[in-house]
Symmetry: T
C-alpha cells in the first residue's frame, strides 16, 4: 500500500549543455530501472580543455519507485 522509492546517486556528463548532461544520466538510469520518477541536481561542474568547457558534468540523485 505504502509506496517506497529508492534514491541513487549518479554523475553524468555532456559536451552540449547542463540539461543534456542531466538527460544522459536519466537515460542511463532508465535503461536498467523501472519507474524513474525524477532527479535532483546536487552539483554542476565543468571540465576545461584549452580554455574552453569540454564537458558539463552533473551529480544528481535519481528517484525510482520500488515495485512490491
Amino acid at each position: 500500500m505504502t509506496a517506497v522509492a529508492k534514491v541513487i546517486e549518479l554523475t553524468s556528463s555532456s559536451a552540449k549543455s547542463i540539461e543534456d548532461a542531466i538527460e544522459s544520466g536519466i537515460a542511463r538510469a532508465d535503461s536498467t530501472l523501472d519507474n524513474v520518477e525524477g532527479a535532483w541536481v546536487q552539483d554542476i561542474k565543468c571540465i576545461v580543455k584549452n580554455g574552453k568547457v569540454a564537458e558539463w558534468r552533473v551529480n544528481m540523485k535519481v528517484t525510482f519507485l520500488l515495485k512490491d
Copy 2:
C-alpha cells in the same frame, strides 16, 4: 532612506530548459510584485516521464524592493 527588500521563495517549472523555468517564475512574481530585482536558484530538479525529462523545476528566492 534605507532600502528594505523582501525575499520570497517560489518553485516554478518548464518543459524547455532550466533557464525557462526560472524565467517563468520571475514572470509570475513580476505580475503581482513591483521592483523585482533578482533571484537566487536554490535547487534544480526534474520530473521524469517515460525515461525522459518532462519538466525542469527550480526552487528560487526572489528579491523585490519594498516601497516606503
Copy 3:
C-alpha cells in the same frame, strides 16, 4: 612529483544562458592562468530588469594546476 592545484573563486555573468556565464568566467581565468582544469558552480543567480532576466550570474570555483 606531487601535483598541487590552486582553486580560485570567480563571479561571472551573461545575458544569454547559465552555460554562457560559466564559459565567460572560464575564458577570463584562462586569459591570465595556465592549466585551467575545470570549475565547480557554487551559486546561480539572475538579475531582473523590467520583469525579465537581464543577466545570468554564476559564482564558481576554478581549479588550475600550479607549475613547479
Copy 4:
C-alpha cells in the same frame, strides 16, 4: 500553463505531538490560502516546563500553488 508554487515559512506548536504541531500549522495555512500542497519540516524543538515537554514546536516550509 507553467505552474508556480509559493513557499512560506511557519512555526507552529502543540502540547500533544510533533505530528499535531505540524497539523496545526497546516490548518492555519489552509484557513487563508488555497491549494496548500504540502510541507517540509525544517526544525523540531520542544519547550520544557518543570522537567517535562510542555510544547512541541516545528518550523516548516509550506507550499501552495499560485492561481493564475
Copy 5:
C-alpha cells in the same frame, strides 16, 4: 575481519505517523536485504489534501552489513 556496511537512501510514507512512515521503509528494505542495522532520518515532509495531512513522507539512509 573488517566489517563493511552499505548505506542506501529510501523515501517512504504513511497516512498514520512519522514513525509509521519510517517503519514501512525499514520493512521494505528488510524484505530484500539481510542485516539491516538502522536508519537515519534526513527529511520529514507531508502531503496535504483538503487542508489536512494525507501522507507523512520521510527520506532516510538505511544501513545494512555487507556479507563477506
Copy 6:
C-alpha cells in the same frame, strides 16, 4: 489555542552599523505587520565605495505571530 508564527525574509541596510541595519529592517517590518517577535540574522555583507564600507547589509528572517 496553538500559536502559529510566520517567518519572512528581509534584506536591509544602514551606513552606520550592523545593528542599525537590523533595526531598520525590523522598523520596516513593524510598519506593516503586527506582533513582530524577533529576527535571526542569516548573512552580513557590506558594500564598499572608494575603499571604505559605504553600507552594512543584513539578510534576516523576521518572525511575527499570526492572529487567529
Copy 7:
C-alpha cells in the same frame, strides 16, 4: 542582569516513539540540571532488529539557564 544559557548535547532513546526518546533525554537532563528551558532535535535515527525498529534515537541540544 543579562541571562546566560548553556547548551549541552545529548543522545537518548526509546522503544516507543520519537517523542518518548526526546522526553527521556529531557528527564535525564532535568535530574541534574536546574532551569532546563527546551531542546532542539538535531538528528533522528533508529536501530533495527529483525527487520523492525527496536529503538528510536535522537540527538538533541538541551538549553538551561545558568544561575548567577
Copy 8:
C-alpha cells in the same frame, strides 16, 4: 604535553549591542572557567518589543584550555 581544549556552547544577550552580548557571555564563562581562549559566534538573533530591538542574543562556542 599535548594541549586539549574544551568547547562549550552558550547563549547570552544584551540590550546594547552584538559585541556587548558576546562580552557578557565571555564574562559569565570566565567566572567559572580558567583559561578561556576565545569564542566563535554561531548565530545572531534579536528579540523585538514594540517594533524595536529589545535584546541582542548570540549563540557562541567558547573554548578554554583543559589543565592537565
Copy 9:
C-alpha cells in the same frame, strides 16, 4: 558515448588507521564492482574501548563507472 558513474555510500573500519579503514572499504567495493574510480571521505569516527581507539570508522562515497 557519455560516461555515467554511479556513487554508492559505504562505512568501513580498521583497527590500524584512517587510511586503512578507507582501503578496506575500497577493497570490499572492488570485490563486486568493476571500474572503481575513487572515494570521497564524508565522516571520520572512532570507537573507543577502555580509553583507547579500538576502531577507526569512515563513511565514504565510492564512485565507479557504469558499463554501457
Copy 10:
C-alpha cells in the same frame, strides 16, 4: 562586455568592534586591489585575554572587479 569579479578570502581583526575588524580587512584589500566592491562576512570570532575580548576577528570573502 561581461564583467568578471574575483572573490578572495581574508581574516582581519580589531580591538574595537566587529565593524572595525571588517573595515580593516577592506582597507588592506583596497591597498593592493582596484575596484573592491564589497564583502561577505563568513565567521565572527573573538580572542579572549584575562576574561575580556582582546580582539574581534572576522573571516570574509572580498569581491573585486577584474579589469579586462
Copy 11:
C-alpha cells in the same frame, strides 16, 4: 532503562599524526569521564612553522554514557 549519552566537544593536537591527535583527545577525556564510547571528527587543521606541519589539530565530538 533508556540510556542517555552526553556529547562534548574537544580540540586536541599532536606533532605526529591525525590519528595521534585524536587519541590524545580521547585519552584526556577518558581521564575524567567514565564510559567514553567514541568520537566523531569534525575538523582537521594543522599549524605550520617554517614551512612544515608543526602540529596536527582535530576538533571532535566525544560521546560517553551517562550513569543513572
Copy 12:
C-alpha cells in the same frame, strides 16, 4: 597594527598518506608565500587504480599573514 591574513584554497596529493598529501600542499604554498600559518582540511578523497588507493587527495584552505 591590525594583522590581516589571506586564505587560499589548494588541492594536493600523495601516494603515501593523508598527512603526506597535506604536507606536500603546505610545502608548495611555502615555496612562494611567506608567513604560512596553517591549513584547514576541507575534503579528503582518494583515487583508486586496480582496486587500490593510488593517490590520497586533500582540498585545504591555507592561511598566511599579509605583510604591511
